[in-house]
Each structure stands twice: as C-alpha cells, then as structure tokens.
C-alpha cells in the first residue's frame, strides 16, 4: 500500500514537474521570466518609492517620527512661502539653460573641426573626450574647488599673463555659478563623440551635389549638416537638460550653495531639507514640483520639435 501511494505520488510529481517544465519553456512564459528582473526592480525601486513620495508629500514627516497627514500644506508653503525654493529653482534653471546649449554648441563646433581626419585627429579626440570621462568624479570636483580658490591655479595663471588677481571666484555671488557652468561645459566631449558619429553617417553625395551647385563650406553646413543633425541635437538636448536639472555632486562639493545661496541647486536644497532638517514630507513635495517642472520643460522641448527638428518621414 504504502509503496503504491509513494510511487503514485512520484508519478504525479513527475507529471507536475513535466507540465511545469513545458509551461516554463513556452515562449510567453520565458518572456515574462526573462523580463522579471526589470518587473521586480521597477516595482521595488522606482514605483513604490514614487507612490510613497506622493503620499509623503501630503504629510508632515520628520524621519524620526512617523508621517502625519497635513493635506496640501507642503505644496502651499512651497509655492507661496519659501523664497529659497524659488531661488534654488531659478539657479537650477539658469544653470541648465546656460550650460546645456553651451555644451552642445562646443560639442558641435569641435566635431565639425574634427570631421576631416588629419594626422593629429586621434590626439585631439582624446584631449576633448577625456574631460567628460573624468569630469563626473569627486576627484575633479575637489580639484575644481581648489583651482578656483583665491590661491588657486586660475589666479596664478592670470598672474602669469600679468593680470594680478586675488579674486575669489567661489566667494562672489556673481562668479560662483560660472565655475560650475564651466565645469559642465568642459565635459562636452561625449556629446562631441556622438555628433562626430552622426556627421559621418551623412551621405557624401549630398555634399557633392551641393558643391556642384556652388555652395560653400558654411552654406553646406547650414543646409546639409545642421538639418540632418537636428534629431541628434534634440535627443541630446532633452537628455542633458534633464540631467542638468538633477546636478548635485558638483554643487555639493564645490560650492555647497554658497555664497548667499547663489549656487544652491534644487537637488541640494532638497537633500538638505530631508537630511539636515529632517523634513521628509516637505522634501517629497519638492521632488514632485521638480518632476512637474522637468516634465513641463521636456514637454515644451517636444512641442518645439516640429519647428526645427528634421523628420525624414515628413
């Protein structure tokens, strides 16, 4: 008896296992199984925090004690009673608005200069690309801070050219933000590499036809290269504008928002609000306003797309 039941159970197990196997090996199952890491990761590390932050943004939550529902109070305070938030938003917008177009303009200009190969092009490419590989590191941020210090290399080099300077670049509200912009623009290399690759994909016959019609180099750039690059420019503009809004490390290490909050990025203000002043609810509301601002900005960019971005399907 006992033996029979066991063997029957074994048979049942084997059949179930076989069916499970067949199920797992179906394409529709395999697809879900292989996509599972992303499904779990997206839920656990993005979706849940997002939902949580939406809830927290309507609470008074001081990390130490639990969240207490306060309705829209955080948003009202944020939008009407917190000049520092508006200042930080202004600084962030200004930073993104200046550094991203400058970065892309440099990237495009240098890519054009490097498009025709010369014996030294390899070296030039390394020199222009390297800063964007190293620029995001804390080491470079620390270096930048020392370079623009009163006894730093910038003033020393100015001194070599006869401009005696003890100017404090980081200490003056008018110039501090520009040291951060300079650091960002300095890293135009990766966009340049992207533009170079895109330029090389433009068919040569277009230039041939244009030059037969008597178009000079500038005209060829204006009428062929630039229009065909607009999809690439647009894509990089959107991505870099978003990351410009999220700048944190450079500001946190180089200026800490000083002087007089003239370099206080919204991300740094949000970090301080949550982890220095323990106002997690208020910081969450800030995050949602930030998301909204970034969303609106991206939306505006997409609306302008049809006016200046070349679309081969149209």
């Amino acid at each position: 008896m006992e033996r029979i039941t066991t063997s029957a159970a074994d048979g049942g197990d084997a059949r179930t296992a076989g069916r499970l196997r067949a199920f797992l090996e179906r394409e529709s199952t395999a697809g879900v199984v292989c996509a599972l890491p992303f499904i779990i990761g997206f839920t656990m590390f993005l979706l849940i925090p997002m939902v949580l932050s939406l809830y927290y943004s309507f609470t008074d939550y001081s990390i130490v004690s639990g969240p207490v529902w306060v309705g829209a109070r955080n948003y009202v305070t944020l939008l009407t009673g917190d000049p520092l938030f508006w200042q930080s938003l202004g600084v962030t917008v200004m930073f993104a608005l200046v550094s991203v177009p400058l970065r892309l303009a440099f990237a495009l200009a240098v890519a054009m200069l490097l498009a025709r190969p010369t014996p030294l092009t390899g070296f030039f490419r390394v020199a222009f690309y390297m800063p964007s590989i190293l620029g995001g590191s804390v080491a470079v941020a620390v270096l930048w801070r020392r370079m623009f210090a009163q006894d730093g290399v910038i003033n020393a080099v100015l001194g070599m050219f006869g401009i005696e300077s003890h100017f404090s670049w980081l200490g003056s509200p008018a110039t501090a933000i520009w040291t951060l912009i300079a650091l960002s623009v300095w890293q135009f290399g990766s966009a340049m590499i992207v533009f170079l690759a895109a330029i090389k994909q433009i068919p040569g016959d277009l230039y041939e036809a244009a030059s037969m019609d008597g178009a000079g180099a500038w005209r060829q750039f204006r009428t062929i290269t630039l229009p065909l690059l607009t999809p690439t420019i647009f894509f990089n503009l959107v991505m870099q504008a978003i990351s410009g809004f999220l700048a944190f490390t450079q500001c946190y290490i180089i200026t800490q928002g000083k002087p007089l909050n003239s370099t206080l990025f919204t991300m740094v203000y949000m970090y301080d609000t949550a982890f220095t002043y323990y106002q997690a609810g208020y910081a969450s509301a800030m995050a949602w306003v930030m998301l909204l601002v970034i969303g609106v900005m991206t939306g505006i960019l997409f609306v302008t797309k049809r006016f200046w971005v070349y679309d081969p399907d149209r």
């Binding site: 697809g31 949580l52 590191s137 040569g204 991300m267 969450s284």
Partner: protein, 302 residues
C-alpha cells in the same frame, strides 16, 4: 568613414568635377588650424595635467607655485601621506570598498540588463510593449528626484547603513540605458540563429546563454566599462547610505579631504584625487573604442 566617402566620390565623378570639392586649403589656414586645435587640446587637458604634476610637489608648494607646472623638487610624500587615510583607516581600504561596490553592482547590471533585453528584443509575450515603454521611461525619468522616498523605503527594508542600496537595485535592470544598449546589439542578430538553436532542442533560456549572450560580447564589454565607471564615481548614494568611515568608498573619502578641520594637507588631497582617477584613465586608455561605441549607440537615436 570619410575615407570611404572620398573613394566613392572618386569613383563616381570625373576628375574635373572634383576641383571645387577638394579645394586645397592654404598652408596658412592649415597652420592656423593646427595651432588652434593643439592650443585648445592642451587647455582642455590642463586641469588634469596640472593635478598630476602638482601631486609630486611638496605640499606647501602646491598652491604657492600653482602657476608653475613642473615641480621644482619632486617628492612622493603626498602619496605616502595620502595613503595613510583618515581616522586610522588607510586610503587603500577606501579604494577596495569602491572596487567591491562597483564590481558587484556592475556584474548585476550587465547580467540583468542583458536578459531583460533578450526578452524585449526576441520573445513575444503579453505586456512586452508596455515594458519597453517603461524601460525607455527609466532613461528619461529623473530617478534621483526620488532620493528621499527611496531612503525611507530602504530604511523600512532595513537596508540603510549597508551596501545593499548601492548594489541590490542594480541586479534588477533599473537603468534603461543598459537594456537599450543590449537591445540595439541583439536586434542585429539574425532570427535564423534562434530558430536553428530551437530546432536543435535548445530552450528559450538556452538560446540566451548559448547563442545570444556570446554574440553580444562587445555590448557586454561596453556595458561593463560604463557601469563600472559610473558606480566608481557614484557619490550621492554613498553619502546617504554609508556612515562608517571604514566602509567609505573612495568618492566619499575624497570629500573628507575638503571638509574644514579634517586636514589641510592639500598635497595629499591632490595625490589621492590622482589615485582615484586611475581606474577611469586606464579604462579610457584600453577601451576608448567601446566607450565611443557606447556613447554613440545610445546617443544618436532621435
């Protein structure tokens, strides 16, 4: 590319038509071009070059002779002093911490992104389109905005004061960039490969491990170096989740050098900055081609 372009042009057009295209630039213009490019290249690299040379200056001369590039006297003292680290923790310990975090997070990123990309690019299943949109969404979604709720969530999971938030999420393909990178490589592999393996009795999982993964080795290399460099440079999450000095990664330890009162040994600070950049510079030197490939394959798409 432009080589082939000019070849094509030569083949297609009769010689006299080439004249306006191949206008020989004057020697003066070429000289001006080289001067401009060499000067701006050096200007671009100057901060890095300055940092490397300064690290060999005696620490009291780093700023008093900031305008001079070459040290008057060479010394390794900054390196030996810097390596002593902080509060009894030697600097190499921070480097090892960085290495552990970056390596574990990178292995997870590469494996999970590759298999998710396989599902999205090869397999038909319900919800695939939605997942693809979500993957693209994570590339656009400013995830750092979520740093506060993420912190509270990890705290609830009991993950704060550990490396878990710095490693575990990366095992779940949360960076759309890498999924997208793998997908663009996989889309180039002919379907007939999968079908042949299927006929040979390979399961869909077998196809991934035996057929697809070996064929996207270039993407594996590219994803590995990008992920490693980004994790190595990561500062914000270390700042939030690592609180014991001995567990600091190098990026966070460098920040200590700038804190007032910690140290005023600028020579050691600069020397350790140089040390912490070595992995990125090595990767750049060895894998420049893959870096370029990675930047372009995800940056050109309009």
């Amino acid at each position: 590319m432009s080589m082939t372009r000019s070849h094509r042009r030569k083949a297609a057009a009769p010689k006299e038509l080439l004249a306006p295209v191949r206008r020989p630039s004057s020697r003066l213009a070429r000289l001006a071009y080289y001067i401009l490019m060499v000067a701006s290249s050096l200007l671009m690299l100057y901060p890095i070059i300055w940092m490397v040379f300064s690290s060999f200056k005696p620490t009291d001369q780093v700023f008093s002779t900031a305008g001079q590039l070459i040290p008057r006297q060479w010394t390794l003292a900054n390196y030996t002093n810097g390596m002593k680290g902080f509060s009894g923790v030697p600097f190499w310990r921070f480097l090892v911490n960085s290495l552990i975090i970056s390596a574990l997070a990178t292995v997870g990123t590469v494996l999970s992104s590759a298999i998710v990309a396989y599902a999205l690019s090869r397999l038909r299943f319900r919800g695939r389109k939605l997942l693809f949109v979500l993957v693209l969404g994570t590339m656009m979604l400013p995830a750092q905005v979520l740093l506060v709720p993420q912190y509270l969530w990890y705290e609830r999971l009991g993950w704060t004061n550990s490396y878990l938030p710095l490693i575990v999420p990366y095992w779940f393909a949360i960076q759309g960039f890498f999924v997208y990178l793998f997908m663009s490589f996989m889309n180039d592999i002919p379907r007939s490969f999968d079908e042949a393996a299927k006929l040979d009795g390979c399961s869909y999982y077998g196809i991934f491990f035996r057929v697809i993964l070996p064929l996207v080795k270039p993407a594996v290399v590219t994803a590995t170096i990008f992920s490693f460099m980004w994790r190595w440079d990561d500062f914000l999450s270390a700042l939030m989740y690592v609180s014991d000095t001995e567990w600091y990664p190098a990026s966070l330890a460098l920040k200590l050098f700038t804190d007032p009162g910690t140290t005023s040994d600028y020579g050691a600070m600069i020397a350790m900055c140089c040390v912490s950049l070595v992995p990125s510079i090595l990767i750049f030197a060895v894998f420049q081609k893959q870096l370029v490939q990675g930047s372009t394959s995800s940056g050109i798409k309009g």
